[in-house]
Symmetry: D2
Subunit: 420 residues, 4 copies
Amino acid sequence: MSLLADLLSTLFDRRYVFMGKRDERPLTELCNALMSSQGDVSGAAIAHEILDGYATTDTEGKRAFFEFLNSEMDIDPDKLESVVSSYKTERTEANYRKLVEAAEPKRQELARRLNQVPGATHQLVHMRKDLLGFMKDNPNLARTDVDFRHLFNSWFNRGFLVLRPISWDSPAQILEKIIAYEAVHAIDSWDDLRRRLQPEDRRCFAFFHPSLPDEPLIFVEVALTKGVPSSIQSVLAEERDIVPVDEVDTAVFYSISNCQSGLAGVSFGNSLIKQVVQDLSRELSQLKTFVTLSPLPTFCKWAKEQEIDIPQDDAALKELAAYYLLEGKRRGDMPYDPVARFHLYNGALVHDVHVGADTSENGKKQSAGVMVNYLYDLQKISQNHEVFANKKEIVASKRVQALAKAGVVPASSQPKSDVA
Amino acid sequence: MSLLADLLSTLFDRRYVFMGKRDERPLTELCNALMSSQGDVSGAAIAHEILDGYATTDTEGKRAFFEFLNSEMDIDPDKLESVVSSYKTERTEANYRKLVEAAEPKRQELARRLNQVPGATHQLVHMRKDLLGFMKDNPNLARTDVDFRHLFNSWFNRGFLVLRPISWDSPAQILEKIIAYEAVHAIDSWDDLRRRLQPEDRRCFAFFHPSLPDEPLIFVEVALTKGVPSSIQSVLAEERDIVPVDEVDTAVFYSISNCQSGLAGVSFGNSLIKQVVQDLSRELSQLKTFVTLSPLPTFCKWAKEQEIDIPQDDAALKELAAYYLLEGKRRGDMPYDPVARFHLYNGALVHDVHVGADTSENGKKQSAGVMVNYLYDLQKISQNHEVFANKKEIVASKRVQALAKAGVVPASSQPKSDVA
Amino acid sequence: MSLLADLLSTLFDRRYVFMGKRDERPLTELCNALMSSQGDVSGAAIAHEILDGYATTDTEGKRAFFEFLNSEMDIDPDKLESVVSSYKTERTEANYRKLVEAAEPKRQELARRLNQVPGATHQLVHMRKDLLGFMKDNPNLARTDVDFRHLFNSWFNRGFLVLRPISWDSPAQILEKIIAYEAVHAIDSWDDLRRRLQPEDRRCFAFFHPSLPDEPLIFVEVALTKGVPSSIQSVLAEERDIVPVDEVDTAVFYSISNCQSGLAGVSFGNSLIKQVVQDLSRELSQLKTFVTLSPLPTFCKWAKEQEIDIPQDDAALKELAAYYLLEGKRRGDMPYDPVARFHLYNGALVHDVHVGADTSENGKKQSAGVMVNYLYDLQKISQNHEVFANKKEIVASKRVQALAKAGVVPASSQPKSDVA
Amino acid sequence: MSLLADLLSTLFDRRYVFMGKRDERPLTELCNALMSSQGDVSGAAIAHEILDGYATTDTEGKRAFFEFLNSEMDIDPDKLESVVSSYKTERTEANYRKLVEAAEPKRQELARRLNQVPGATHQLVHMRKDLLGFMKDNPNLARTDVDFRHLFNSWFNRGFLVLRPISWDSPAQILEKIIAYEAVHAIDSWDDLRRRLQPEDRRCFAFFHPSLPDEPLIFVEVALTKGVPSSIQSVLAEERDIVPVDEVDTAVFYSISNCQSGLAGVSFGNSLIKQVVQDLSRELSQLKTFVTLSPLPTFCKWAKEQEIDIPQDDAALKELAAYYLLEGKRRGDMPYDPVARFHLYNGALVHDVHVGADTSENGKKQSAGVMVNYLYDLQKISQNHEVFANKKEIVASKRVQALAKAGVVPASSQPKSDVA
């Protein structure tokens, strides 16, 4: 049916056809041309030149390009000051329009104009990745990054993202990116990947943006289980019994990975988990429990700072870990553990703690082998979030509360001061 | 293949599932909640309440909502003044961040947060349509409209639009919108529509946004012909010979219609025509000429202002029309004719003028039956645009130049002053 | 994603590209060539010539073509007799192979070889439609039709058909066929069609074959209702209350239409209804009752043959209609009513009878305004079918049984002999 | 757009929902039930039982099932003899219908009735694979195989197959089958596969049947090159220069693999190559030459039979290989080489011969490292095929003819008799 072919080919396959000769002006001159009236009509051609030119220039050229954006395409504070003053005097549309115009740095409109070329969105994301690199030596460039991030927060708004299941039916081109981007429990091989996607008790979901259809933005791996699992190795074991899908009662989010470093600071994780909880609930009404199986990546670091030795005894270790999760704090009375901060802010609660749960080298080194289940209960996440956000109170199951109480660090081993 | 089903169903079909009870706070209170930390986690639910509440409130409720956006979610000029001053003193990232934050009215972030609900983009477009209505009595609301327009220019950026052919294979749901939105030469019936879509010498293309997959944003109707046609009635005749597609040499854009009044001021027309010219060139290499067949909607109005009688004689009428197109000006030395302004700014040139070309009532009343072909030559549009944009020079074929020269209005009938 | 475009475009859009010059041999000669070794390699080109030649030849040419198939491409009974005899003697593979070959008329292989050209399946279906026409004057051609029907029964096997919902989202090209093919309750206009497809309490489903993706083979229109409806006019009323889908409990099949007269005798209706019952059950668990709302197309004809006047009194009319459905028989002790035969053989039972249920001209003329609900209960259709198929017993609800008993035609008005 | 989702999900995803309890009758009894009137209405349920029962029975059960088909569902020659005799006497429709019915073994209709269950087509293909295994010990079963093959030739008719490109965008589920089924030059790993699919100068195409959407039936791997390559190792080298697609002039079919052993004897290869030649020609007009790079799998075997030592000298080896291809014959004056028979019957010609072209172990063992290019020229394949099919003449390039002449085997080394 040609309708489908037409629709899909135009939906995803819009190639730029260059008509005419290359424009060899320097990047900065091209940027000025793109912002001029010339850009209104020949914008696509000029944008294409700029993106091509940027991609092929060397590191110094790239750095110079960002310096140009930072200094030449900045807000003009004198002008802004003057229009703000007018607007204060008279709140007319004309004054407001002038204010809004003066309040936006030119580089924002430049990025929007660059984006008219097919594939540009991905190139702009790459560009920001470079920018984040240059910022290490050139902290000054952070101003330009503020604008990139602002723009991406608007473009990659939740309303424009699509959640797609990733399965063994997905294109190899996408699957190889899942292998590459998995950041928590590395995927060794295509066989390992197949084990995480193909069995009926395994799922994977990713957010995509329509303009980057081949690029997952963030993905989550899910195990459907009977009961809450207490070990990542048992979840990922090569030889294991597949649970028939009509027997499962629990969905375990055991790995969440961001894929695009150029989108750092644009937050997707919270939406992703909640959307997946909703979708799985609808598909499989037998699912009653939605938990993570998460590392405690700074547990050992914290213990060391607290001058506490990691207990050899499992029971004591479990208590200490519970204590760490509920009482280990850093500046601002926030949880010391970054993964805890993420899930608690999302409205999850601390459900359970397991020792000997991650026997990998890294798991032992950072988390002393301990893992934690954060529980997502859609009926309660709003309320959990509120007490956490407003009162810094951490919601935890009774079991974990009791463990934490037992795990109170004796005064003698308390640190002298908050060092985190 | 479940891949396809999965992909497509998730791509287009993300329904909001409400989990919990309705939140009956007033709209303004909900807006404040959405902007607070509560919005970080329960944003989708609150956004849903606001959009639902807005949709079901009455006219006064809607007006009050916009008044709230306009006054309570505005830029705070005092604060802005203060951070601009700091930034002038010290151009640090922190100061820049504060400046950027203070320089954006809260209603922009509100709109972004509302947009996380499926279908919200379309609802926001509708919202602006209402706003444009309220602005007639409340010109003050124009400030809020500045922000809507700014946001939509970013969201409906060319890079996010997809060009889709509209054909007799398209869903009826989309086709009925084509019937409804056709603004130039009305479509009488489904049979009339079929005549404009199904024959091999007819095409139609529309821009879509992935978040409004059922809503064309703008569309253009194209006739493929042998030679440049000189009458719209012959193009649209019920009984006519269909030209085999291997015999055509010309593509005629005979109608361009915007569909979403809530997107007024977000410009798509220029990109649409150029994209269609490119796509048709690639598909049908036999096409050599790309022209419009356009009305002169203010020709009679101009003539009346100029105190010129519309000539009864065809030759003289043609000359006068050519003169009007090339020499009829309004303030700023711009062409008097709005359609001419659009195509000339896009880089087209005035190719030919036809009398007796539109015998419809409206065609006779506004254009005295005259129509004009604007020619799009991709090799020259950049250059044409430049001379028009910078020097106000109108590029025209020799034939039209000669006609215009012959059509010089005798001094005696020249108007006393520029009245346009 | 080019994968999708590729897949779909190749799935549905395989155009024949003619490479070389036309072959102007007569149709019969081309058929012989196609069956020869030449056909093994140049088959597509020859098949294309034959199909083109057939399409453009006149009535006499077409008739001659079928005469050729009928006489020249028949089974050779002498040869068949000889190989059967060999096979009786020695049941070897070689003898069997010879038997199978001799037992199949060449026109079957011819049709298979013609089918290698894109679009050929549809052309062959058209061809049979012509053949059915010629058979009226030339009953001899029925032999050839036996083979077409045999082939189509194999090709249009249930396993190759796909059930697709038809909705207001479907391509106009398919919808106009629904309008054209509706055989029971004519669709007046696109607005009428929209009323049957768009409301949430209306559904339509069709079987398609992958090689005729734009051609529905058979379709059924469904109303979702609260309770079993007793009037087709109320179901199809322009102004009616739409029933929210969570309040419906009954699915009513109020119209089933075959679309391809060239597929006469290839039976789809039984499978279609059962598949739709299954699919709707899964989608809407609130549906408890699946019934038709069917005409009694030969009720008045039967009454006339029985020399019974149609009762003016509603109660008596209802009883007579029930009696007719349960006791009106034709040769072979089968129900007189063709629609009853169809549904009863499918395993439905006679659920209810309604007078004043079809007030259309045709409804009054054929059915005296009476309509009947046949009930499909998936748990019982197998058993119902068995008693009907084996014992000619008609399963009916108690209510209808009682009505029929009351409606017993007095002996005096019994016909002298079975005239049906 | 739910249309798409609906369409695709129903197109490919029709799952059988079992409603009721299992039917535990023996397979043979179920087969008889399926053929009875019961099968008309409860066919899907019974078919499902049979397919399930077959899949789970042991080897003896399967063998017994085929014995049953072979003996109990055979043609009845006595009956057939009688109806043939009637038909000879009177060629009426009724007699013909009886003849056609008697001439078809019941197992054909059984297979068609089994096929109504989703997924049945694939299960029937598997069934025949088993049957081919049983035939080794039970040659008698070949009669049943004649019917399977006949049915599959009808169902897998060229007109029902779809050609799909296989690319790095294809689902992993399909790609792993490409790895598994590659029969000519084994694919070592996913990286090896990526090298054959992803570069712009590599292509792969497969035939699919709509009822087996995840199962390629046959596929061909293509290298786009500049000039005709003379070594398979250079084509498949890990490190090689990718040829920009606008510089290629030749398409090389370097591997063709059948995937379904249950479809043995249903021929796709000829159609596949020609379709791919057509499609590539249309897509890339710069392609002028379409050749294979093929092994000579029986060259060494032939030489041994001929008591000829494989020459150590490259020039002499090349001449002998050319001689073998053009003059090496087996019974029926057909080429000794099976790959030659395939391509020559398809209308290709022997274009060139290369020594040292396949240095793999197998290549050296079977082909003495020699490979051959068969050339497909769409303008000439019909004519080439005719002289080959009718006169057994092998068309070859002048260069190969000259080589073959030089390679004439001296009389002394001629074999005493035709041993092939």
